[in-house]
Symmetry: C2
Subunit: 505 residues, 2 copies
């Protein structure tokens, strides 16, 4: 078909796909930066990234594209609530309207500032020197405030930012569900601590040769359905999953000789993200129906495979003998039950990324509450460390001995990711609710997992979650799929079912 005979819809899709194509180049650069680039290449890489960011934003807010989209949005295609085309137009229009509110200057300033802030953060964390990071953190929050005001809409500033990661989620609803969750979690954690029971965690810190861990990692990734022929598994300092193209979704994890859990749950988590990406519709690549619905929904898939599958006794009935065969010296004398208890050790700790399934969401609450206060100006950057420590005392009963292990532990704020943290908790909530629904439709999954049959679950998720893309918001998708809005109920029930027997509560 020649371009002149293209329909308006085709033209709009072509523009959007080309923008996605350009955006996917950022992911190649990002993957290389995190896994292969010599440190000396960082400065030039930042310039490449800034150039791309500017070009992508220009394409996103291109006025001709916007005009075509506006015309389409008024037409009959957009009015069809059930067609692919209707959903595509509505989502693209929403994206355009949002991005068009952001001045190029602000986008560039944010890119520049967050690059500087990230390197200041790295240094401040290494030297435990919050004061040296504070001015840049202040600048980031100033810019994010400006961004939120430019975007407008919603009942509060935080709404505008949260929407970037979790479209259509409102701060008020998020706060309500997390408060309800906290009310259940705090006493559950207290009961676990008070039980006096503790697994023998040293099982997981015996020596595990890295090359065997790598072989096991590949085996586990493929066992749950991640396709290595359309991806890679690499080594990195900070585990991640990134999609470089419709058939090139890569994961990377870290290995420690004396910590088997890091690689095992790292690979299950990242492969979970990868399974979502690999399950998206490739015919819709670069368009809303070929994209993940939200970060929260994405996290729900990593958490589902990591926790609901990967920390279940049923899964290890099948998988633990394979782990033992990789590490006969270290694990020959360790029973399935001891292994299962060890990987479900619950104890209040200071570092989010190492937190167990139960306490994890309390770490998120601290961040969610603090970033709202910082954005609104109710809390100053100078007072933030004290507020951080107080919340750890309140929710987890422990206080960081230093800022390095406290408020400086996460990269997010330095990278301008304000409104991102709650999606981690949402992921846990969505995961529990979706898994419960899968069991309702497929029947109890324990027997299948114990036999290594994960395909039925994956197929169900593919049809009901992955192939829906961004047809509607993640919140709506979960509500439609499970018959109720997101809540803390399913997660709390899962946690009680697992931990009450383990800790004899």
């Amino acid at each position: 078909m020649s371009r002149s005979s293209e329909t308006l819809f085709d033209q709009v899709c072509r523009h959007a796909r080309q923008t996605s194509l350009l955006r996917s180049i950022e992911d190649v650069l990002g993957w290389d930066e995190q896994t292969k680039m010599p440190a000396a290449g960082a400065e030039h890489r930042a310039e490449q990234m800034a150039l791309l960011a500017g070009m992508i934003h220009q394409r996103r807010i291109d006025p001709d594209y916007g005009a075509r989209l506006a015309e389409l949005a008024e037409g009959p295609l957009a009015a069809d609530l059930y067609s692919d085309a209707g959903a595509t137009i509505r989502r693209l229009k929403r994206d355009f309207d949002k991005k068009a509110k952001l001045p190029v200057r602000l986008v560039e300033e944010l890119a520049r500032t967050t690059i500087l802030a990230q390197s200041a953060w790295l240094k401040a964390r290494a030297e435990d020197d919050y004061a040296s990071f504070a001015p840049l953190l202040e600048k980031v929050f100033d810019l994010k405030r400006e961004e939120a005001d430019a975007l407008g809409g919603g009942a509060c500033r935080y709404d505008a930012l949260l929407d970037d990661y979790e479209p259509e989620m409102r701060t008020e609803d998020m706060a309500a569900v997390l408060s309800a969750l906290r009310a259940e979690l705090v006493p559950l954690v207290e009961a676990i601590v008070a039980s006096g029971r503790r697994p023998d965690r040293s099982i997981l810190t015996r020596g595990f040769p890295i090359d065997r861990q790598k072989a096991l990692g590949r085996e586990l990734a493929e066992m749950i359905g991640y396709d290595l022929a359309r991806g890679r598994l690499d080594t990195t300092g900070h585990p991640f999953c990134t999609t470089l193209g419709p058939n090139d979704c890569r994961i990377a994890i870290r290995y420690h000789e004396r910590d088997l859990g890091s690689a095992v749950f790292g690979v299950l988590h990242e492969a979970g993200h990868g399974i979502y990406e690999q399950g998206l519709r490739t015919d819709q690549y670069g368009l809303p129906l070929g994209e993940a619905a939200s970060l929260g929904l994405h996290e729900s898939q990593s958490r589902l495979w990591e926790n609901l599958v990967g920390r279940s006794r049923a899964f290890w009935q099948f998988a633990y003998p394979k782990v033992q065969s990789h590490f006969p010296d270290a694990l020959a004398d360790v029973s399935l039950d001891d292994f299962h208890f060890a990987v479900n050790d619950v104890r209040p700790s200071l570092v989010r990324v190492e937190a167990d399934e139960v306490t994890y969401n309390l770490h998120i609450l601290v961040r969610f509450e603090l970033e709202q206060a910082l954005l609104d100006g109710h809390l100053t950057v100078a007072d933030a460390p004290a507020a951080w420590n107080q919340k750890y005392r309140d929710y987890l009963g422990i206080v960081p001995p230093s800022d390095a292990g406290g408020i400086l532990q996460d990269i997010h704020w330095s990278a301008g990711l304000v409104g991102y943290f709650p999606t981690y908790a949402l992921g846990n909530l969505y995961a529990a609710q979706i898994f419960a629904q899968a069991e309702k439709e497929l029947g109890p999954l324990a027997a299948a997992m114990a036999a290594g049959r994960l395909r039925p679950l994956r197929d169900w998720l593919t049809a009901n979650v992955y192939r829906q893309g961004r047809r509607c918001s993640a919140g709506k998708l979960v509500e439609r799929l499970t018959g109720r809005p997101v809540s803390h109920d399913a997660l709390i029930q899962d946690l009680r079912t697992k931990y009450e027997p383990l800790y004899r509560l």
Copy 2:
């Protein structure tokens, strides 16, 4: 400085640098494609590459940029023959005038066709089926003919294409110097074959564990001065060197357990390219004075380190004990002289990339003559295999038993690289001439090499070659540096000096 107060020169440089910045992104994608990308990612990668190629061409021929450049080229800055600014303007103007002659359609068509032709070539080579590749090869030559005609200038079509790789080199001069070289090489090869002497090449095909080869590779690269902190050494099917940024120049080689020479001379060759790149002026990155002068000059540096240093007895006096220490089992009983003879084995062969230093240039002559005939239409694509085989008979005395090991062996034509081959031979000529000049100025280098002191040579090359960038053409640079235009004399003298004693001629 605000943009409004920028001088015209600054504006032009900013545009050129940004174009180079965008171009450097292609190199990240290319490196990833050749070393890390899962095969399933190829199609999307081709789309990313095509998008970038179009955007880069648009920037290169941007009319505002062209107008500014034209104004500058008439001004006093450009008239200064000795200043950095003058050289920069003259080079940028030359680049613009050339690129502006190419219609976007042709650039896109070439990108598309060569991607298809490369995959057809891969298949044809694997299946030894030239006929299946012929239609695409014909299309490539049609487009290259169109490109040459659009570019115009020069005395023949080939001039326009050669200029892309070796600016200002004329086909007539290239042919004259290569004919003179052939006249010397053919009898030299005959004499070597007739000598009846042959080194024990089996020395290099004993078992050499890959991980030890990798360690040796890093050691050799660093020994000659390649900076691994500003680069990487990886594994690949087809060795290469690529620059992703001013402090990120990566090399990749291949390893075979039963062929030590492949890794050793691969790493010396690619690290030679890398040393040139790492020696360029970083303050001029993205501008002509921070870029290599030509492919021929680039190849001269890989060949200088691979052959003039890396196949000399003096170098191995220093380096061979280190090789032995990596492979005590395989090499303990092999003397320095036997090793040195083995790595200087000369014999006519069918495959260019495996050819020795003496016969190599005859492989280039075959390709140089055939591609001119194909471009001019004096030879048809259908008749090319027979012509190829006849030339191998004439120059090397052997005939390929199949097209897979004959005309299908190189990727170049399928990739649209017509006019590229002679730069390999030029590299050998430049290398010999430059090395001779270095010895004239620094004194004989054998003693320094035998002591592992390569720094004086590298510093001399850095000052006299690398830091000159594209100030003038490679041909002029070599002529100014050595006092005479490029010729076959220095190379022939080097070859006689080395091979007459080895083969007792």
